[in-house]
C-alpha cells in the first residue's frame, strides 16, 4: 500500500510539473503559426551545440551562461497587446511561478516571473505589454539572473533592462 502511495505521489508531482510547462507551451503552440506573431525558438539541442563551440571572441562568463540554457522562446505581436497580456497571465499557475518584478506605467506593463527549486532558477518568464506590442519570453535552464540580464541586453530585448539588479526575496 505504501509503495502504491509513493508511486502515486511521484506521478502526481511529475504530472503537475509537466502541466505547468504545458500551460506556457500551449500558449506558444496556440500562436506559433499565427501570422500576427513573430516567433523565435531555440531548442535544447542548439544550446548543447553552442556550448561545444570554441568561441574566442565571446567572454567566458557569457559562454557559461549560454551553456547552462536549455531553451529560449519569444512570442511577440503588435496586435492587441493588452488582450494577449491578460490571456498569458491567466495561463500561469501562480503556485509554480514566483513574481520577481512588476513594472507598471501608463502604457507599459512588465512582469518577470521565475520557476525555481530552492536557490536554483529553472525558468525566467517575461510577459510584457507596451504601446507597441506584446512580448512573451521564456528562458529555461540553470539561470543566473545577473548574467541573463547581460545576455538579454546584448540581444537588445526591450524590457529586459528592468531585470538589472533584480534579486530574489
Amino acid at each position: 500500500m505504501k509503495r502504491i502511495l509513493l508511486i502515486l505521489t511521484i506521478a502526481i508531482t511529475a504530472t503537475s510539473a509537466f502541466a505547468q510547462d504545458d500551460a506556457i507551451g500551449r500558449f506558444f503552440g496556440k500562436y506559433i503559426d499565427d501570422p500576427r506573431f513573430t516567433v523565435v525558438s531555440v531548442s535544447p539541442r542548439m544550446f548543447r551545440l553552442m556550448s561545444k563551440i570554441n568561441w574566442d571572441t565571446i567572454p567566458s562568463d557569457l559562454k557559461q551562461t549560454v551553456s547552462r540554457l536549455q531553451s529560449f522562446r519569444v512570442l511577440s505581436t503588435e496586435t492587441t497587446p493588452g488582450v494577449f497580456f491578460r490571456e498569458a497571465l491567466t495561463r500561469i499557475d501562480r503556485k509554480e511561478y514566483e513574481e520577481l518584478i512588476t513594472v507598471r506605467g501608463n502604457k507599459d506593463n512588465f512582469r518577470f516571473m521565475i520557476r525555481a527549486t530552492g536557490n536554483t532558477i529553472h525558468e525566467l518568464l517575461m510577459i510584457a505589454a507596451a504601446e507597441d506590442g506584446f512580448t512573451l519570453m521564456s528562458f529555461v535552464g540553470d539561470i543566473d539572473l545577473d548574467k541573463i540580464s547581460r545576455l538579454a541586453a546584448d540581444m537588445d530585448i526591450k524590457g529586459m533592462e528592468n531585470l538589472k539588479n533584480a534579486k530574489r526575496k
Binding site: 516567433v39 525558438s41 542548439m46 561545444k52
Partner: protein
Amino acid sequence: MKTLTLPLLALLIACAACAQSSHLDKFYQQYNVSDQESPIDPSLLLNVSFSSNKITALHCLIIDGKKTPNAGREFRDLQQSLRADHFEEWFSIRKGEGRIALLSRDGKDSLEEMACLIVGDDDSGLFFHLRGHFTAADKAKIEAALQQHDSQ
C-alpha cells in the same frame, strides 16, 4: 508449418516497414513526374548522391513564389513532412509569413540528416536537405552561415 508462418510473417512486416520511404522522400517523389503532370514549377530542384564519407545525399529545392501560386502550400507540406519524419528543430524564427528553420534527425550508424528551410513573405523559398556524417564543428559552420544569412 505454423511455427514457420509466424516468423515469416514477422520478417515480411519488418521488410515492408524498412522499405517504406520517409515522408520527405515522398515529397521529393512528386517532383519526379514529367513537367506537364506536375502542378509545381520549381526554379531549382537538385537531388545529388555522393559516395564521400561526409555527405551521402543532397537535396535542394528553390521555388519562386511569384511564378508558383501554390508555393506557400508546398512549403507547408514540406514542413509537415519534416514533422512526420520526426526532425528535431534546432532553432526557428518566423515573422509574418517569412520563416527560417534549422532541423536535424539522427539516423542509423551515425548517419544524420540536416534540413534548412527559408521562406520569404512572398512564399518564395529555399529548402536544402543533407544526409551524411556531421561533426559538431560541421554543424556549427552551417548554423553560423545561416545566422549570417539571417542578419543580412
